[in-house]
Symmetry: D2
Subunit: 299 residues, 4 copies
């Protein structure tokens, strides 16, 4: 990397008269700029259809390799999952029209409210900003979760935008992701138990699990290793759901009294903050308990 | 931020029989997943038109504030410009189909070759990956350029994709950005000279420059401050252009000789690496000296 | 127009040996075709977002001139409105997933049901087929409405696709078009009454109406010409709404009796057919009376 | 079809006072319209990328059935091909930015010049207008080609838009269509010769041709039926290419002479008109002879 190096072309700096400079800069300046500005017309409009939920989903790039190089524990690394959640939280705090986010493994989905006008609903702006904020946060907060273990290189995530016209569609999207979390985590839990506690090689474990159903996997855990899958950590089984919640906070504020003295008094105020849940979002319960996340369909 | 907190819903863990579990997991597992999978059909195809250059441009979010909070020097902060270039270089090394990148101020443009099939030319993947890699690199390499001065929060960039069908269009795009660099830098140079050396307030400086042409600004610099704008740093006047270059490198390699002894011998090999230029890319010279960047129009 | 003329290049037909022909045709035949087939990859996917109503609206091209040249009566020509409706009906019969169509003046809107998979929901196919079928029908049925008055040239219509995610949005779209019908028809009715019965020039009539509200226009009609606008033809005030309705039809069918004789017997069967309404579709009444047009929002 | 029928809802016309009417119409008029106008924001921008050729291709809908019902001759019906060409010509005369059109069988492609700003390059407008004009022309000119044989029903065409960034791409697109014409016509020619002159059933003919190459097909024609395929009509082998050509026309014009007498004098003027060719457009010859069709790539 040679940033800062003088370029060969730039080296031959001639001395100009002021008159010459004037001409030169006029022609290569504003006038030239307006001559080139036609290229702006090649930009296309990618406004998201109104009245639809906008979902941005990020996926880690080559995270299999990233996990290996950073010695993530198997089948789940709580530091990595915590960092993913922390980065997602940073995204939500930056882009306030996100009402709910859901993450598992190396992916995170962010849902903008259907009436959002953030970035004029331009898909490219929304997804790049989410990808950017998430990625810079991932590096920024690394130390909070991995302590002295160094980050070896800057990781990458890619993203996409998907629109959902109805509450049912949006909920089914989130169900899909949580069902995916469940399937993968059940598999990974049995697989690594067979390897770590059962002494199988990874090839043997893979072979053993070929063609098994969920019930079979649960039975292997229960019968052979006395593990009740349902007692496994909710974080691993259910993933992470982030939503905004109003909290009453008591803060100390300096108030001027009637007699003009100043005094510290406790003041209660309501603040929105991001809260994390590791619970089922497939059933109705979660949605009944948080009725503000979804907006009326027929609007 | 409550990442890791157990959720209220998740707390009430009931004990299931294995039979019950089997049913439960089957229904909320693979079968449920396939029931929800219809939501994938809502994804849209955003493949970039073939045989066009794909440009991804990133712009800093709220970098005016970011610069102030991190005490960037005015009118240009070489540490910040270096970090921008370093991050762009990291993007190029990660996405090899980028043939040229150009940056100035808080923006950077990346040009994918017109025949690229990276990510199947999917616009969303291309721009989010660029935005992500750039942002994580910006935090990752911060220390290299800012030393002990801490990064206060993770910065954000947004991006967009623009397609250019011809070499002329692409060159004019890059001309447009370099002309913009020139106009802004000339203005900023005079403005901050008037403030820093001329003792004007920022309001006075703004007033002084209202309605001036490039020639007028050059004359202020030359006549009042004895500054020949053309002698200012090329990095500031021309921005940063990154391209791939082949270099012969001599490395020492351990070779087995005929008599089975091992010996360290010097070996020359050709390697592609990213090089930075701070030169004019508006004229033909640069393009004539690097004929590999553009591809034939009529292909 | 020289369709059928032999082209200069084609004239010089040489006589080939069969061997030569074989080579020639192989190279300019299948092999050549596959060599060129890469151009298919330039087609883009324009699938309409799922679970949204797909509206195709057609507008007459230069119908002001078309109306003048074909001596349409002012302010409304019932023959032309009838022909528009007939052509729209032809479109609905051809594309069965259209559940409702609304037309006024020289425009017609067609609504595909939100779950339609017609043409795989490809926007270009949907709108071109509608535009094509409407236009060929317009010429085909001309005689039914204009009798011996000849059609002077083939008319053109252009179209567009708009997606609506909710029932409210779709109904508001139709309200928008019917409100437009009302505003224009009220204006045109007063305008042409002032000209045809009031003896004003068109310039004077335009002047007279400048700045008037709906109430003023109604009063002009009522006070000066004894016309109650509400008694004007519903076709003009409300436009044309086409929907599918089930009707019981009694048809005579030839049946084979037990004794193997054949006999004509009356058979009642239910048939879907397009029906035209000229009524208010802004209020709830129409929608309550035809509950099948809209689908459930939360699906 | 009940166009013109009074609708049930519309029948119950109440008599209003003028005051009531005023209120009513104000609320259901302009104000109401503006309340609904938000639905316009759901329209999306589908501007075609600048500096690309815009191709609109139309295909007949169910033309197999259409051909059978209208007793088209096999393998080619010159009346139908003539009507297709006539309709395409009508499209070109209406949309002047089309520089070349190519048709074969029941399809026709129209090429807009790369710098066209017709309809602001909006894809939906371009393709629907082409589809509409073509279809109305097809019915309008039917009689010119089919005489007293009636058109049984209005036919439909669907269309699509494809963008090509370079001259090579555009030419390859046209090559692809002409190669397709060749392959299909050679097959159809042999197939129907086997049936019509060879006395085979269609199933036998199909069987006979299974797996044959172009050379084999030529040999069947030549050896068994003494037909040199190359002597078949160019219209069938090469399809129809329409371009604009300048022609000098001599018209008689009434001129006022110096002595104020009027006199008819012959005047020569240059006029653009659409010309049809049935020649090879795969090779360079056609393009060299008509250099104005393609524009410079590097613009």
């Amino acid at each position: 990397m040679l940033i800062g190096k003088t370029c060969r072309l730039g080296r031959r700096v001639r001395t100009y008269s002021v008159q010459h400079l004037a001409r030169l800069f006029t022609s290569s300046g504003n006038m030239a700029k307006s001559k080139f500005e036609y290229v702006r017309a090649f930009e296309t409009d990618d406004t998201c259809l109104r009245n639809c939920y906008i979902v941005v989903r990020l996926d880690g790039r080559n995270f299999h390799k990233f996990a290996a190089q950073h010695k993530f524990t198997k089948p789940n690394d709580d530091r990595a999952l915590g960092l993913m959640g922390r980065s997602a939280c940073s995204v939500m705090e930056e882009l306030e029209d996100i009402t709910i986010a859901y993450g598992q493994s190396d992916e995170f989905s962010f849902v903008f409210k259907r009436t959002s006008t953030w970035f004029k609903r331009r898909a490219s702006k929304l997804m790049t900003h989410v990808a950017s904020q998430f990625s810079s946060s991932f590096v920024f907060y690394w130390k909070e979760f991995f302590g002295e273990q160094p980050l070896l290189y800057p990781p990458g995530f890619d993203g996409r935008v998907i629109l959902y016209p109805s509450n049912r569609n949006l909920r089914d999207y989130l169900c899909w992701r949580q069902a995916d979390c469940h399937i993968n985590n059940l598999y990974n839990t049995v697989f690594w138990t067979l390897v770590q506690k059962g002494g199988l090689t990874t090839a043997q474990a893979e072979d053993r699990l070929k063609g098994t159903l969920a019930a079979d996997k649960n039975e292997i855990l229960f019968a052979e290793f006395d593990i009740n899958y349902n007692n496994e950590a909710a974080l691993h089984r259910k993933g992470t759901t982030l939503i905004w919640e109003k909290r009453d906070e008591t803060v100390t504020k300096c108030m001027k009294l009637l007699n003009k003295e100043e005094k510290d008094v406790p003041v209660t105020r309501s603040r929105r903050r991001v809260e994390a849940y590791h619970c089922d979002i497939i059933g109705d319960k979660f949605w009944e308990e948080h009725p503000d996340i979804l907006e009326d369909d027929n609007c």
